[in-house]
């Protein structure tokens, strides 16, 4: 019931309510306030694939709310000995109250949710979904633009394998955003996702050039071309470094336009952009903490007080 596997698990009203909760939890996320809402609760961080920000921000979120964390990594454990995901999850069902799972195989989060009683938060499954990232992205956009409605969002880079943009684009169209997808032909958004987006009545365009999109953009969402998802090096080298954004490229941009990136970046965003008002990617990374705090509370059935003080 408290599972979050894809953005379909949250209605628009629930999304807005989680973002509200996250806003009220901001001082707790920053450590300025002590609010042990999840005291006595245990989160299992089940990371079958590497992660820095997601794993650490889940841990920070749980600890800021007074809970504790079990960290699991598949290296050197029974998984390396061939244990099934089902069996590994049975173990965690007894150790923790909630689990965040990242796995290289697509569908692993739904599979885990069906394997155990405790709530499962999908922290990224292969090239599938990454809904907690989407929630922190929506939080960042909402706090910058004051609304999610009717924005013009440009998604750039690896749209084929990038699970972040898959989840985000689903959520954005539900709030009436227009999407322009900029990617090389070999990394286009999967056709079933584009067809889903259009079935919501969304305006979805595809383009090769990033420069043309800058003047009309409200949000430019950059992604890394993920070397690890390519079957071979040659295919990767054909598209590596194809999109680069520098501060000088943004002279024609709207003043309130924001540049986002799920990080880590390689060379898609030049450091010259970091000091501009457009750069929101570091704030976005921090926003993982209040957003995941709100999501942990929701999944564990703990209400965030209307007034946090």
């Amino acid at each position: 019931m408290g599972d979050l596997v894809t953005m379909d698990d949250l209605s628009n009203e629930e999304i807005v309510s989680v973002l509200d909760d996250a806003n009220r939890l901001l001082p707790v996320a920053k450590g300025a306030l002590h609010l042990p809402l999840l005291e006595g609760k245990v989160l299992a961080n089940m990371f079958f694939e590497n992660s820095t920000r997601t794993r650490m921000s889940f841990e920070a979120a749980m600890k800021r709310l007074g809970g504790s964390v079990l960290n699991f990594s598949s290296v050197g454990t029974s998984v390396a000995k061939g244990e099934t995901l089902y069996d590994t999850m049975q173990m965690i069902d007894g150790y923790a109250d909630i689990a965040a799972i990242r796995h290289p195989r697509q569908g692993a989060a739904q599979y885990s949710a069906d394997s155990v009683e405790i709530p499962i938060l999908n922290a990224g499954d292969g090239a599938g979904n990454h809904p907690t990232q989407t929630m922190l992205d929506l939080f960042t956009i909402n706090n910058s633009h004051g609304s999610l409605n009717g924005l013009n969002v440009i998604l750039v880079g690896d749209l084929r394998y990038g699970r972040t943009v898959h989840s985000l684009s689903h959520a954005l169209v539900r709030f009436g955003a227009s999407l322009t997808m900029v990617s090389p032909a070999s990394l286009r958004m999967p056709k079933e996702i584009v067809s889903d987006l259009r079935s919501h009545g969304a305006e979805v365009n595809e383009a090769d050039s990033l420069q043309d999109q800058i003047p009309d953009a409200d949000v430019i969402y950059m992604t890394r071309i993920q070397k690890e998802r390519f079957p071979d090096e040659d295919e990767y080298s054909k598209v590596a470094g194809i999109y680069k954004l520098r501060a000088s490229d943004l002279s024609g941009a709207k003043k309130e336009m924001i540049v986002m990136h799920p990080l880590p970046r390689v060379d898609e965003i030049d450091p010259s952009l970091d000091s501009t008002d457009h750069a929101k990617y570091f704030e976005q990374a921090f926003n993982g903490v209040p957003t995941r705090m709100a999501l942990l509370c929701r999944s564990l059935g703990v209400e965030v007080p209307k007034k946090v003080s």
Partner: protein
């Protein structure tokens, strides 16, 4: 009707008619009657049909297929019609119907799906997201399935 007489009428059992031409062997596999040595099965392939051009027909003796078994047929023979025969007469007529949720009927064809490890114990599951055109996705990984490929992956 003369096409139906290429094999003798059965006394009791099930007739599966209007199978798309060439698909009868897959139907046999899907219904798992290929492993049942006690059931006499007559098979007619590629006969003319007013309804679908050319068709295959299966007659399965002394066995009445259940609705559940027949529902699985919809994947490869959505236009098939079924007659349950008792004492040489048609006792019941049924049309196949594709369920919304296909459990343990076929394996996901995506090489990076969690279900690709056949030691994982949960059932294979597919969701029918559209009927016309037929669109089926893996319940776990969400990947759209190529129907021809899916037929090859029938469990």
């Amino acid at each position: 009707m003369s096409e139906m007489r290429r094999v003798t009428a059965i006394r009791n059992g099930t007739v599966v008619d209007h199978i798309p031409s060439g698909r009868a062997m897959q139907v046999i596999r899907l219904l798992r009657i290929d492993t049942d040595r006690s059931t006499p099965v007559s098979l007619v392939m590629n006969v003319p049909s007013d309804k679908i051009g050319r068709k295959d027909v299966l007659k399965i003796e002394d066995r009445e297929l259940s609705h559940k078994e027949l529902d699985r047929l919809a994947l490869i023979a959505p236009s098939a019609s079924i007659a349950i025969i008792r004492n040489h007469a048609v006792a019941e007529k049924m049309m196949v119907e594709l369920a919304d949720d296909l459990v343990n009927i076929a394996r996901c064809s995506f090489s990076n799906c969690i279900t690709i490890n056949d030691r994982e114990p949960l059932p294979q599951r597919m969701r029918v997201v559209s009927r016309d055109p037929l669109e089926i996705r893996c319940y776990y990984c969400g990947r759209g399935q190529d129907i021809e490929e899916l037929i090859e992956k029938i469990l």
